[in-house]
Structures are given as structure tokens and as C-alpha cells.
């Protein structure tokens, strides 16, 4: 029976100094969690940023090269104990999580001091009600948070994040995504829906790698929503390599979601009346570029004969 232990509470009166920039200790110590990256990402501490990147890179190598670790333990018994203690220290770290949650506490207090208290009027207004102009559907991928890359501030965007930023069609029945859609369109009355795809998407990769027979994993069941995108991609990109095909599918899947949005009667009605605009977006974090387009809704034929979506106002920011 799960029993929550008593919470620690950070109330309005316990402001502390903002956390200092993380110590510039480049030595790799895998037993110490490389605490989350420095919060002063907005400052110009390029030098210290360089040190922090070193720590991250080394940590990544350790985490992902588990094969390497196993090999070492077989060949050099002397290192085994060290490796074992590394694992137990990791477990201890996970169990107590003190480093991570201390950092989190500092970040929240910093948010409170530098944003919340500096904009009390705005937050008091927001506390009563939200009136965002955007609904954003984005991937859960840790690299593509819409608040980070597009600068959405509290109150501006109602955000649904799922695997591979997919919108299932109306006939698929209830899901968390269309519950969010219904709330945003009918209750909050947002004026824009923006579906954002991105590069190197694991969900799209899974979609493109699926075998044609029955998919048993939950990931497979979910990403099958994008099957039309996969079919169109495979037809259009026969000469490209798999990675290029995936990139094509990432954008195709956004369009597939835009079409699926129109299967919801209350969405289609608002688009037709000009009360709601639907946009697609694509964030490429390899080259740091953002592409954006708007669905061109013509009552007679928003989707032309080949199954492609009619778009307008295409923009490319880099």
C-alpha cells in the first residue's frame, strides 16, 4: 500500500538566495549525480557552460556504454568492486534523490523570486483564470518543450504533450489528447492550434520501423495513429535512406494530425467560421531551425487529390 511521506513545503516566506552557478569541477565522478544543468542558461557564462558540457558528455558516455562496463568487469577483476559500488551509489542516489530535489527546490525558489514576485499582478490575474490564445500539441521529448523553444510564458499556451505529437482522429474514440482538445477549443476557446513535430523523433522512428503485423507494445499501438503518414512517406521517399525517410515522416505526421483535427466537428466548425486557425510546425534541433505553416481551409477541398494538405503562410526561421 503506497503511503506518501509528509511533504516539505516551500511557502511564500522562505525565499533563499538564488543558487550560485554550479561548481566548475570538471573531474568526472560518476557516483555524484551530475546535477541538472546550470539555471543561468540566460546569462553569458559561456566559459562555465563549457565546463558543464564536459561533465554532461562524460556522464552520457558512462550511461550509454553499459557494454563497455560489462567488458571491463570481465577482463579486470580489480575494477569490478568499483563498478559495483558505482551501481549501488546510483541506486542510493535514486532512492534519496537529494541532489536532484535540492536543485529543483532552488529552481522553484528562483522562479518565485525572479518571475512570480516580479509579476505579481499578472500571476494574481492568472490565478483566477487562464485565457491562452494557443493550444500546442508537442512531443514529450525532453528536448522540445514549447515553453523553452518558443518562449511561451504562463498563461499563453495550453499544452498537450504526448509521444510523437499525434492527434488521433475523432472516430478512434476518447483519449487524453482529444480530451485536451475538447477543453481547449470548447471551454478555453483558443484561437490557434499548433502541432509541433521535431527532428530525431523516437516515436516516428518506431512508426517507421514497425512490422506490418500486429504490434504488441503500447508504443506501437499509439504511434499507429500516424500510419497514413508512414504510407505516404514510404511511397514518396523510396530513394532516400532510413534517417531521411524518418525526417520526411516527422513532417508528414504533423500534416496527418492537422487533417485529423478537422475530423472533430466542433473544430471544423470554428475553422470554417474563421474563429480558429490550425498551424503545423517543425523544430529541427540539429540545425536549430523552425518551420511553420498554416492549414489553408477551403470548404470545398482542404486536402487535394493526392492526400496532401493545402497550406499557406509557410515560414522558415533559422
Amino acid at each position: 500500500m503506497a503511503v506518501p511521506s509528509p511533504p516539505f513545503s516551500l511557502s511564500k516566506h522562505s525565499l533563499s538566495n538564488p543558487p550560485s552557478f554550479l561548481a566548475s569541477n570538471p573531474s568526472l565522478d560518476p557516483s555524484k549525480a551530475p546535477v541538472l544543468r546550470p539555471r543561468n542558461a540566460f546569462g553569458s557564462e559561456a566559459n562555465l557552460g563549457g565546463v558543464e558540457q564536459t561533465r554532461l558528455r562524460l556522464w552520457n558516455n558512462l550511461k550509454t556504454n553499459s557494454d563497455l562496463r560489462l567488458q571491463a568487469s570481465r577482463e579486470l577483476p580489480g575494477l569490478t568492486k568499483e563498478l559495483k559500488s558505482d551501481k549501488s551509489e546510483r541506486m542510493e542516489r535514486i532512492e534519496h534523490g537529494t541532489d536532484l530535489f535540492d536543485e529543483m527546490k532552488q529552481r522553484f525558489l528562483s522562479f518565485k523570486k525572479h518571475k512570480y514576485m516580479q509579476n505579481l499582478e499578472l500571476y494574481e490575474k492568472l490565478a483566477k483564470d487562464q485565457a491562452p490564445k494557443f493550444m500546442v500539441i508537442a512531443c514529450a521529448d525532453s528536448r522540445v518543450c514549447p515553453s523553452s523553444i518558443l518562449g511561451f510564458q504562463p498563461g499563453e499556451a495550453f499544452v498537450v504533450r504526448n509521444v510523437a505529437n499525434m492527434v488521433p482522429p475523432y472516430e478512434n474514440g476518447p483519449s487524453e489528447t482529444n480530451a485536451g482538445l475538447e477543453f481547449a477549443v470548447n471551454s478555453l476557446k483558443v484561437e490557434n492550434i499548433l502541432v509541433i513535430g521535431h527532428s530525431r523523433c523516437g516515436g516516428i522512428h518506431a512508426l517507421m520501423s514497425m512490422h506490418d503485423d500486429v504490434e504488441t507494445s503500447l508504443i506501437g499501438s499509439w504511434v499507429s495513429v500516424g500510419m497514413n503518414a508512414r504510407v505516404r512517406t514510404k511511397a514518396a521517399t523510396k530513394l532516400l535512406n532510413f534517417d531521411q525517410q524518418c525526417q520526411h515522416c516527422e513532417k508528414e505526421s504533423v500534416n496527418c494530425s492537422l487533417v485529423n483535427l478537422l475530423t472533430y466537428p466542433w473544430v471544423e466548425e470554428k475553422v470554417r467560421n474563421g474563429e480558429l486557425a490550425i498551424h503545423g510546425g517543425y523544430y529541427d534541433f540539429v540545425d536549430c531551425a523552425f518551420e511553420k505553416w498554416t492549414l489553408d481551409y477551403k470548404e470545398s477541398n482542404p486536402i487535394d487529390k493526392s492526400g496532401k494538405v493545402a497550406v499557406k503562410d509557410r515560414a522558415f526561421w533559422f
Binding site: 563549457g50 522553484f108 490565478a127 477543453f183 503500447l218
Partner: protein, 280 residues
């Protein structure tokens, strides 16, 4: 002219960042001055686009209008440019790493509410947290036939990305929990999808009604916001891969609650207690 513009802007920005009011200029004087800048510069020279946007933004801030009064596309273009200049270009090595793979330590469940983005309130940086956002930050129990969206996220984060922490964050004034508490007792639904989704939280509602039924509705809702987090944490443990990793201490579950009325954030852990046999 350009230098005067910057000097003026700098004084406005520095004073507005010190406190909500103005520094040595009255609000009206500041707004008038900024407006004059826009008109004046139109005549002499082309104010560059970015500067123009900054001035417009300052004017709207001073007028107390909310940021989203601007044209939506301009708004996100500005946001992206700011991200690129202040983050992406400042940490190229880091972003090159991230482009190859993500290695987040957190899986976060948060509400879709526009006021509770985890990146804003907990300052998550790119690469740190795999974030699933839905109405009411609800996690349904493991089900291979339904709710594949949530299931896919948990499966991907836990099995493929090997996250070490799951954090479920509830919040005050949650519209999803409101709807849950207002659901009619006869099971009828007023919406296509919302009601179907929020009824995942029915066990939490039942508990709140039993323990806090004597409280006014608003306070019951607040209790339910937290109880729904407890429920989601319990439901998470019905996913086999979550349970397995918790058993070998490779994964920790925590709940959180963000109260933007009081300005506070609570975090708590999940610990499972099985007592020693009481009857042999």
C-alpha cells in the same frame, strides 16, 4: 539616434526588472516616451524589427496588457529567436550532444494548463525531463487496450530512456479536477471526451468525499487535486516495467503540487510499506 534609443530602453528595462513599478520615470511618461520613439524613428531611419518588437512589448507590459495581445505568429517567432540567441547559440556543444540522443533523468506528468509548464516553474532545461501533459495530470492504470497514449509515454521513458525519476505534478484551480468533482452521480456525460478522461480520477473523488465531504466544495476540490496525484502514483505502479524497476531501486516515484495562488510548491515521495506478518 540609435544610441539614444538604446539608452532610453536600457533605463526602462533595468527599472522594470527591479520591481513591478517604474524606476525614476512615471508610467505615463515612459509609455509616451516609448511611443514617441516608434514614431520618431519611423521618420528618420528604419528601426530594426527586433527593436521595434521590444518597444511594442514594453509598451504593452507597461499598459498592463498581457503578453498574448501580440499577433500569434510574431509572438512565437520572437520566442524562437530569443531561444536561439540566448540558449542554442550559447551552448553549441550541449545541443550537439542532445541532437544525438536525449538522456533525461525525469519523466514528468503535468497538467496541460497554460499556467503550469514544468519548464517555467521548475526551470527544466532541454534534455532534462521527458514531459507528458494532459488534463488533470492523470495516469490511468495499466491497460493494453485503452489509453495507449499514456502507456506509450511511460513505456518509452522507463524502458527506452531509462529515466530514474517519475514526478507527477498537480496544481491548484485545476479545470480537469473541477470537472471530475462536478461529474453527475448518475454517470451521464456532457462532453465527447473530457468526461471519459477525467473519470480516471473517480477513486480519488470517492476518497475525498468520504474523508472531506463535510468541507465546502472549493476545499474538497483542493483535496482532490492532491488525491488525484496520489492516485496517479498508485496507478503508475500497475505498469509492470515501473514496478520492476522500483523493486530494484532503479526508479523513484514522487508527487508534487503547485499552488500559484499561494506561490508554493510541495514535493513528496512514494514509499511502500508491507508490515511483517501479524499472524503466523
Amino acid at each position: 539616434m540609435q544610441s539614444t534609443t538604446f539608452h532610453f530602453l536600457a533605463s526602462i528595462m533595468s527599472s522594470s526588472s527591479r520591481h513591478a513599478g517604474m524606476g525614476n520615470l512615471s508610467q505615463e511618461e515612459a509609455i509616451e516616451g516609448l511611443k514617441k520613439l516608434l514614431i520618431h524613428n519611423d521618420k528618420d531611419e528604419q528601426l530594426n524589427k527586433e527593436l521595434e518588437m521590444k518597444i511594442e512589448k514594453l509598451i504593452s507590459e507597461l499598459l498592463g496588457t498581457t503578453p498574448h495581445d501580440c499577433h500569434p505568429v510574431k509572438r512565437i517567432l520572437g520566442g524562437f529567436q530569443s531561444f536561439k540567441t540566448n540558449k542554442f547559440d550559447v551552448y553549441p556543444e550541449l545541443f550537439r550532444e542532445l541532437a544525438e540522443r536525449q538522456n533525461p533523468k525525469f519523466l514528468v506528468f503535468a497538467c496541460s494548463d497554460s499556467r503550469v509548464s514544468p519548464s517555467n516553474i521548475l526551470d527544466f532545461q532541454p534534455g532534462e525531463a521527458f514531459v507528458f501533459r494532459n488534463i488533470g495530470n492523470l495516469v490511468p492504470p495499466f491497460n493494453q487496450l485503452r489509453y495507449s497514449g499514456v502507456g506509450a509515454a511511460i513505456e518509452y521513458a522507463v524502458v527506452t530512456l531509462n529515466v530514474e525519476n517519475i514526478l507527477v505534478i498537480g496544481h491548484r484551480r485545476c479545470g480537469g479536477i473541477d470537472r471530475l468533482m462536478d461529474l453527475p452521480e448518475d454517470g451521464s456525460t456532457a462532453s465527447d471526451f473530457i468526461d471519459d478522461w477525467v473519470q480516471i480520477g473517480l477513486p480519488a473523488k470517492a476518497k475525498v468525499k468520504a474523508e472531506f465531504g463535510h468541507l465546502p466544495p472549493d476545499e474538497q476540490k483542493r483535496e482532490c487535486e492532491k488525491e488525484a496525484v496520489h492516485l496517479s502514483l498508485a496507478n503508475l505502479q500497475t505498469y509492470p516495467y515501473v514496478r520492476e524497476r522500483m523493486a530494484r531501486k532503479a526508479l523513484a516515484l514522487r508527487g508534487g503540487y503547485y499552488d500559484f495562488v499561494e506561490g508554493c510548491f510541495k514535493v513528496w515521495e512514494v514509499k511502500t510499506i508491507i508490515t511483517t506478518p501479524i499472524h503466523s
